[in-house]
């Protein structure tokens, strides 16, 4: 379990987080959403110990990430947004780092490379951008760490690859794993992520499971704009209205509409979600 308590963080003079507290529980695939520059990557880096909080604390299963203890590191993998590869084949790369991870599985790596349709014989720099990303994903997943952090993992993937991505992530997840996916391409991970976290400058605007969100908000698909909607957007064939869910109705979350509704009504929705 990841616990973030009263975290303050700033890069030089730019405040990124101000007194935020968050918890991440096992067995979930968290979606970390937010506009560019609100600190999605920074939050992942703080959880990985690549950055250190100025105030407050981050702990992962009771360990402090910034201490960089092997006990912590061997259970965590972070896949950065930017594709960083060595001048070698994915196979040689994973054999080099895999031995450090207790549940690393080379057979799984091969299976994932096949599933993701990556050419095993090629070196990283002979692969296309999307192929590189998939190869690195296969590497990351074959390490089988309890904590997996993916920063914009679907960037640069073609449409079939995005479906494969959802499949392999869903496959990866079990009761012991915590996956956090930071993204602004919500469509790519729409049915994969739950709960959702929406970050804003300095703050966490929303952290809720789909069940909690649909209890409070109703997503109405209809022919017209509704007056009391938090947010309305035109869709092909009508409008989607994000409404307060007063009648306890069930609806399907449209993450994009949710995101926009939250951004437009920061305080209102934050309060709405906090009320029991």
């Amino acid at each position: 379990m990841i616990k973030i308590n009263n975290l303050d963080f700033a890069y030089n003079n730019t405040q990124v987080f101000k007194n935020i507290s968050l918890e991440f529980e096992k067995g979930n695939i968290y979606g970390l959403l937010g506009e560019n520059g609100v600190g999605k990557t920074t939050l992942l880096k703080l959880i990985c110990g690549l950055q250190k909080p100025q105030h407050g604390s981050v702990t992962v299963d009771g360990l402090t990430p910034s201490m960089r203890q092997p006990q912590f590191l061997q259970n965590v993998y972070f896949l950065p947004e930017e594709v960083i590869t060595e001048d070698t084949t994915p196979e040689k790369f994973i054999q080099k780092i895999g031995v450090f991870y207790p549940r690393y599985d080379f057979a799984l790596f091969n299976q994932l490379m096949k599933e993701l349709e990556v050419d095993l014989a090629k070196k990283f720099n002979e692969l296309s951008h999307g192929q590189k990303k998939k190869a690195l994903l296969a590497c990351a997943l074959s390490l089988q760490t309890d904590y997996l952090f993916l920063d914009e993992p679907t960037n640069g993937l073609d449409i079939p690859s995005k479906a494969l991505f959802r499949k392999v992530i869903s496959q990866y997840c079990n009761d012991e794993t915590t996956v956090i996916i930071s993204t602004h391409q919500v469509k790519d991970v729409e049915n994969l992520i739950d709960p959702i976290i929406i970050l804003d400058r300095d703050d966490v605007l929303l952290k809720a499971s789909f069940a909690e969100i649909t209890k409070k908000l109703y997503f109405e698909y209809g022919p017209e704009r509704l007056q009391n909607a938090y947010y309305t957007e035109m869709l092909p064939g009508g409008y989607i209205n994000v409404m307060p869910n007063e009648d306890g109705l069930e609806s399907n979350i449209n993450i994009e509409a949710l995101f926009n509704a939250v951004m437009k009504n920061k305080e209102t929705i934050k309060n709405l979600m906090q009320n029991e």
């Binding site: 880096k45 990985c48 110990g49 690549l50 950055q51 250190k52 960089r68 203890q69 092997p70 006990q71 590191l73 061997q74 965590v76 993998y77 972070f78 950065p80 930017e82 960083i84 001048d87 080099k96 780092i97 031995v99 450090f100 991870y101």
Partner: protein, 284 residues
């Protein structure tokens, strides 16, 4: 779980870094190995009329030692170039080994493996070249580790006669201690550039060299000023004449060697502590 030092895990990081060793350093080593060959060819192919063009083993030992130092200077930035890179260094930082294990592995490859691999290769090449009827006379390998013979040769070449006490002094020092002395020198150079590799993001070796040159100039100015204005030292030099010259020089050399030895230990310790801290706390 031992989070500081675990032999099994240390073996893994050694293997990991070892797999990176040749791919990253082979070009540097190859160039440095080629230099004695180029010297050999240049001397062999030069039109000559006498036999003075032979290069003796002592000179080649000096050349190989100097090139080994260059290898040591370059190695950290070649082997661990990206470990403080905010993007490319993430993999290194997240590698599940302790800071101490990563540090020791880095130390072993930069300070021990690099010079051993370079010197072994260079001596092998030297021996092959010496087998031919060419300008290389004698085998560098036969005297490389014989520090006493080397120092003796240096003094002879510079025309300084060694008196008996000097000879006795050296003879009293065990060869292992002499090896430790030169190892400390290697450690000092290496640790300075390991530190440079951790604090600079780009042009790591060049920046560190620049800083060293500037520090050296400042140091020389300070020392010369100090010596020139220090009455005790001046008085000491005034007492020097042709008869006691050897004794004087010997004392000065011993004094400088002492100072250098302690300075090297202090510098190495500071630099290595800095490297360790950077591995532990570097932000990405």
């Amino acid at each position: 779980m031992n989070n500081t030092l675990n032999i099994n895990r240390f073996g893994k990081i050694l293997k990991h870094d070892g797999l990176n060793f040749f791919p990253n350093l082979i070009l540097t080593l190859a160039i440095l190995w080629a230099i004695p060959v180029i010297v050999y060819l240049a001397v062999a192919l030069m039109p000559t009329n006498d036999t003075k063009d032979a290069v003796d083993a002592f000179s080649r030992v000096d050349l190989i030692s100097a090139l080994a130092n260059i290898a040591i200077i370059i190695a950290p930035a070649r082997l661990y170039r990206y470990c403080n890179d905010s993007r490319k260094g993430i993999g290194y930082a997240m590698l599940p080994a302790s800071t101490l294990e990563k540090f020791l592995s880095m130390l072993i490859y930069c300070v021990i493996v690099t010079p051993i691999v370079y010197v072994a290769g260079a001596l092998a090449i030297d021996s092959i070249l010496a087998l031919f009827q060419g300008p290389y006379e004698g085998f560098a390998v036969s005297i490389y580790f014989d520090t006493f013979a080397k120092i003796n040769a240096v003094f002879q070449r510079d025309g300084i006669m060694l008196d008996e006490s000097f000879m006795l002094y050296y003879a009293s020092i065990s060869p292992i201690f002499m090896l430790i002395l030169s190892a400390i020198g290697t450690l000092a150079i290496s640790s300075i550039f390991m530190f440079g590799n951790m604090i600079f993001k780009k042009r790591k070796t060049g920046k560190m060299l620049g800083i060293l040159i500037i520090l050296f100039i400042i140091f020389m100015i300070v020392v010369i000023n100090y010596v020139a204005h220090n009455e005790a030292i001046n008085l000491y030099f005034q007492q020097m004449n042709d008869d006691n010259k050897a004794e004087f020089i010997k004392n000065i050399i011993f004094r400088i060697m002492d100072i250098t030895f302690y300075a090297e230990i202090i510098i190495s310790a500071l630099m290595l502590f800095g490297v360790y801290r950077k591995i532990k706390t570097q932000k990405y």
